[in-house]
């Protein structure tokens, strides 16, 4: 995934109020006024709630067979039954918890690594910067998904490992972003002043630079969640996920392996993928509008199909 798709999310949430964007301190104000950003947030909140409430919503073992294999949707089982005869709704709810957990944790790992690398590279500059950035460059070149798959195959299939693997692979764009931000913050007057007053490096980093960098990091982390959930589906689909837990990726894999297609069991195939799509979409929209709110960019287009409008001359213009 790359930065350009985020630009698209930005485009979809266009129309930021110009005046509001220029007012300092109204970042949340701007982001939360955008209908698509709110929609994104709503989607994420919905799924988070489901995840949190899942122990209550699902009693007993969701994998338990409650009917015929690939039983079609009915009143008592609105999303039908999967290849093992288990209730799809319960499976989905249980899967929400795992998928979101993996997503958030992996994103945190990435954010932590990326943020640290970015801050250190940006703050210390010089050799540290060069070394860290070269490493980042090399990491960038290695195709992420094969690496992830191979690492998953090699290091075992527990949930923790998956989280770590995903986290370790996606930190690079965060590092670059944070580094750029740190570089610009570092040159600001109040930082120089604090340094002149004798503040040590640690103090400078924690009190002055981090607060400026944190919002961007948060926004980026939301986007990382999207990547991570996506990545988890890849791993699970190829049978490399943790066999003891249910995740959305696993549900898709199950459907595939159990020949859901031959049985025309669309209800086993569509819902888990739809959930992934929705969450990824929501996180991307929301995260992108946050990032944009922190970096408002305004564009004027000189071309459009529509033209300027002409009003008929109204005699003397009134009441001035």
């Amino acid at each position: 995934m790359s930065a350009s798709i985020q630009g698209g999310a930005a485009a979809a949430t266009e129309g930021v109020d110009v005046a509001a964007a220029r007012r300092p301190g109204s970042i949340r104000h701007v982001a939360l006024r955008e209908p698509t950003a709110i929609a994104g947030l709503a989607i994420i909140t919905f799924f988070v709630l489901v995840a949190i409430l899942s122990p209550i919503l699902v009693t007993g073992d969701p994998k338990e067979k409650v009917g015929p294999i690939f039983g079609p949707p009915s009143a008592s089982y609105p999303l039908g039954l999967d290849g093992g005869g288990a209730n799809m709704v319960e499976l989905l709810i249980a899967g929400t918890r795992v998928s979101l957990l993996v997503g958030f944790c992996a994103a945190l790992v990435s954010a932590f690594i990326g943020g640290t690398v970015g801050v250190l590279a940006g703050f210390y500059g010089g050799k540290t910067d060069v070394v860290l950035m070269r490493t980042t460059d090399y990491f960038l070149v290695i195709p992420d998904i094969p690496l992830m798959i191979v690492a998953a195959a090699l290091f075992g299939r527990s949930l923790t490992n998956i989280i770590i693997i995903i986290g370790v692979i996606y930190w690079t764009t965060t590092a670059r972003l944070i580094r750029a931000q740190v570089l610009s913050v570092r040159e600001r007057v109040y930082v120089k002043r604090a340094r002149a007053l004798g503040a040590g490096n640690g103090r400078l980093i924690f009190k002055h630079i981090l607060p400026q960098v944190a919002p961007l990091l948060v926004a980026n982390t939301v986007l990382l969640v999207a990547y991570a959930i996506f990545a988890e589906t890849f791993i699970s689909f190829l049978g490399l996920g943790d066999p003891s837990v249910i995740s959305w990726g696993r549900l898709i894999e199950n459907a595939f392996n159990d020949d859901a297609i031959l049985n025309n069991a669309w209800w086993a195939i569509i819902p888990p993928g739809l959930c992934v799509t929705l969450v990824v979409l929501g996180a991307t929209l929301f995260g992108q509008s946050l990032e944009d709110a922190l970096n408002p960019r305004l564009r004027v287009g000189h071309l459009s199909v529509r033209r300027f409008k002409v009003r008929p001359l109204r005699g003397k213009l009134d009441s001035e």
Partner: protein
Amino acid sequence: MTTPLLALEDLNVWFELPGGGELHAVRGVSFELEAGERFGLVGESGCGKTTAMLSIMGLLPPNATIAGEVRLDGENILARGEETVSPHRWNDIAMVFQGAMNAFNPVQTVGSQIEEPMHLHDVAEGKLARRQAEELLERVGIPKDRANRFPHEFSGGMRQRAAIAMALACEPKILLADEPTTALDVMVQAQILELLVSLAADFNLALILVTHDLPVVAQVCDRAAVMYAGEVAESASIDALFHRPKHPYTRLLFAATPDLRAGGERVASIPGAPPRLDKPIVGCPFQPRCDSAFAPCATETPLLKKVGEQHVAACHLNDHVREPATA
């Protein structure tokens, strides 16, 4: 009375704002331009002068609404918007933009971009166009072998000259120059201005020079209009504006310009800021900052009145003058 080459009558421009509401950027601007005349349009940033310029060529974005007339040789070219104004672009009226450094497409040669309007308006083709483009470049002081170079290979001043050459490609009658010398260093500024003056003379071009820089206007123009908050505050010959201003804004503006030749004067500036244009303005727009405001200024809008030969001003201080202007 002969028809002026260009006449703006009661030009108004509104912009729709993203959050709703309108910005009334140009509020009833009128002036006239004769062939071969050099006219200045002066004012602070945001006073609407650039918008007024763009309106003359109909280069406004879709969220703009125009009212009023722009008459070229008597014909209102804004009558049906884009349809009536576009045939005149570059043929009759051409423009050199603010920051003309970026007027050139970076991935095409400068020469080809000068030739482009020639092809478009059937002025010249092929080799003839090439030759004319090279001649134009030489006329503005650029060696003609540079025609095959890319814009980034030119210095700022040279690019500005090339932009001027490009503007002349179809031999227009009027040249609009928006802040042609901003962002250039002083030596280059003087050269560009001299170039504009000599071109105007050689090609019998009418020139409208938009700027916030008074010495520039003084050097190049015969007449000027001073704009404030989307309106014309005063319009007269340069001499009159400098020595006999009839609007406090004009007076303060010219006083605020440090005159390097007269030593030791304090630099005056006008305190305060221009009014917001997204709300209706009551009374005279300059009143809050005016040092001569009195009773009627806060409530009654002053109208443009003739206060001398070819000299109009919109200020209540001139109310005693008995001849009102007839637009």
